[in-house]
Symmetry: C2
Subunit: 332 residues, 2 copies
Amino acid sequence: MKRTTIEDVAALAGVSRQTVSRAINNKGEISKATKEKVMAAVAELGYQPNRLAQGMVTQRTRTVGLVVPDITNLFFPEVARGVQDEGRLHDYNVLLCNTDDEPEEEIKTMYSLAAQRVDGIISMGSKAPEEQLMRFANTFRPIVLINRLFEHDHVSVINVDNFKGAQLAVNHLLNQGHRQIGMLVNQDFTRSQVRRVQGYQQALAEFDLPQNESYIVDGAPTLQGGYAALKQLLSQSPEVTAVFTYNDLMALGAIRAAHDLDKKVPDDVAIMGFDDIGMAAMFTPSLSTVRVDKYAIGQIAMRRLLEMLDNPNEPVQTINIDIDLVIRESTN
Amino acid sequence: MKRTTIEDVAALAGVSRQTVSRAINNKGEISKATKEKVMAAVAELGYQPNRLAQGMVTQRTRTVGLVVPDITNLFFPEVARGVQDEGRLHDYNVLLCNTDDEPEEEIKTMYSLAAQRVDGIISMGSKAPEEQLMRFANTFRPIVLINRLFEHDHVSVINVDNFKGAQLAVNHLLNQGHRQIGMLVNQDFTRSQVRRVQGYQQALAEFDLPQNESYIVDGAPTLQGGYAALKQLLSQSPEVTAVFTYNDLMALGAIRAAHDLDKKVPDDVAIMGFDDIGMAAMFTPSLSTVRVDKYAIGQIAMRRLLEMLDNPNEPVQTINIDIDLVIRESTN
DNA sequence: TTGAAAGCGGTACCAC
DNA sequence: GTGGTACCGCTTTCAA
């Protein structure tokens, strides 16, 4: 299917290609009459410039890459929307890639995006080894990393205040009178995971409570993971009366597990999540959690990327996203 | 940041550009010795071919466009994963676009994807006017449409058996003894919406039950929409004992609404959804629903697109995706 | 087996 | 104000 080119438009309008280009891009001097003639031809042929060709010469593709562990995880679609909506405002398209948390896939993906000449990359929950990420950042810019600590002058970083969030969450449980507080977490050593555990530990420490290793139970960051992890925790340590989870998905799975164990939430076990996904408010009991504005994260990341594109020499930034506590029925 | 080009590799290896191209693409005759020399240079420079340039000459970008109403809606991320995973197997990337169910945005998006020279487009839940879609299909190929009826020799269609699914669902409720059965639905006139309502009506008709217009309540296809719609339905028609919803999100919202109205599910109201999203099994009560293999839909759509790309002259296909009933706690 | 030249569809730069 | 020409980085065609 031969598509119409700038040449066709030029021929129909009886002008040169450059004139067409000027008319379309509102660039350079051009008489009103010619411009109208050209635009008429454009409309008649339904002409749209080939973005590849434009990209070749301008070295800009108006495309960014968004790398996430798994778009199926309820956290990421909202971030993706933020990125896309902000991108659309600036006529940018988004290439979405999943890594399944595999560092090699992640690195491969980033190089592939670079080969496709995206203008920038936003990567969330990166697990790539420091050194490989460094090597990549040396060859590509700009990059925005979400929830990963990293220093490089091509890389801006956006971090949720995971430590504070976890601290607030556990403090709330403590203030409710709980003293045996467990945590369900996916031990994947990402920054957000580590910080949430540290916040949990800090809160306990400030209450002069002992750190009981066996109160921290490992599990996948999913409904099923939380379900299994709570069952394990309660069978090992039946004295536990409250649980803080790595994310809402795990928390909702845990609530179901409690239900299946004939434990009432929050009377027998209080459960507190992290993220505030849409489902959290509708669940029965509705979930107390730490709210993270996922959409805003996406928006901010995209804005940062565009700024870096416009001002390549400006120093990179580290942005902290604030969080707050949402108390619902699952804690009391 | 100047990236290394084929020229750099050629210079380092001491050969011409075409020889490098041949070595990389395993195309044409080339001696083993030269090839090794070239590959060494490629490795040393970390060279990756510019995909834009490749696309310009081959007229293939190895990129497809995926158009969805809203990636935030739990149904779509799984389909997107199916598309991407299948795409990745063939070295394809996916441009993801949201339309927010706005026909104009949808059409604009498709033209924009065409301008970016994606090799094909997969569009889900299209609401674009027939005539505009037709005009677009005349200028672009190939296209795969999911859940929209459309005939064009550039367009393959994938349909979930919505009619049968709705029929099965309502039949189950009828077999449980329910006779006052309501439906909560987003009246957006998409194919899937219309067919699900028709299936509901057909099931009632086959039981010689009257069609009560006021039993069909309109609502957004979201948690909140289902929540509000159930409240409205029960206040208008308190005699209703069972409800079938357009999708699981509405069903889960409805369950919460029933809870807030002090109605037991399923004892006071039975609730049946559609889609079987991951959350359905974890909710309390867990949700009876019509299972749709969303991941498979994405996979199949991508495969179909690749086939159409490989065999442009083969006639297009219409593929039906089968469904089945999953009975859980919310009906009995 | 290898290289030179043309061209994909645009834009930038420089004449006129 | 408008047109000619070079060139972005690659593959295809054809000649050597």
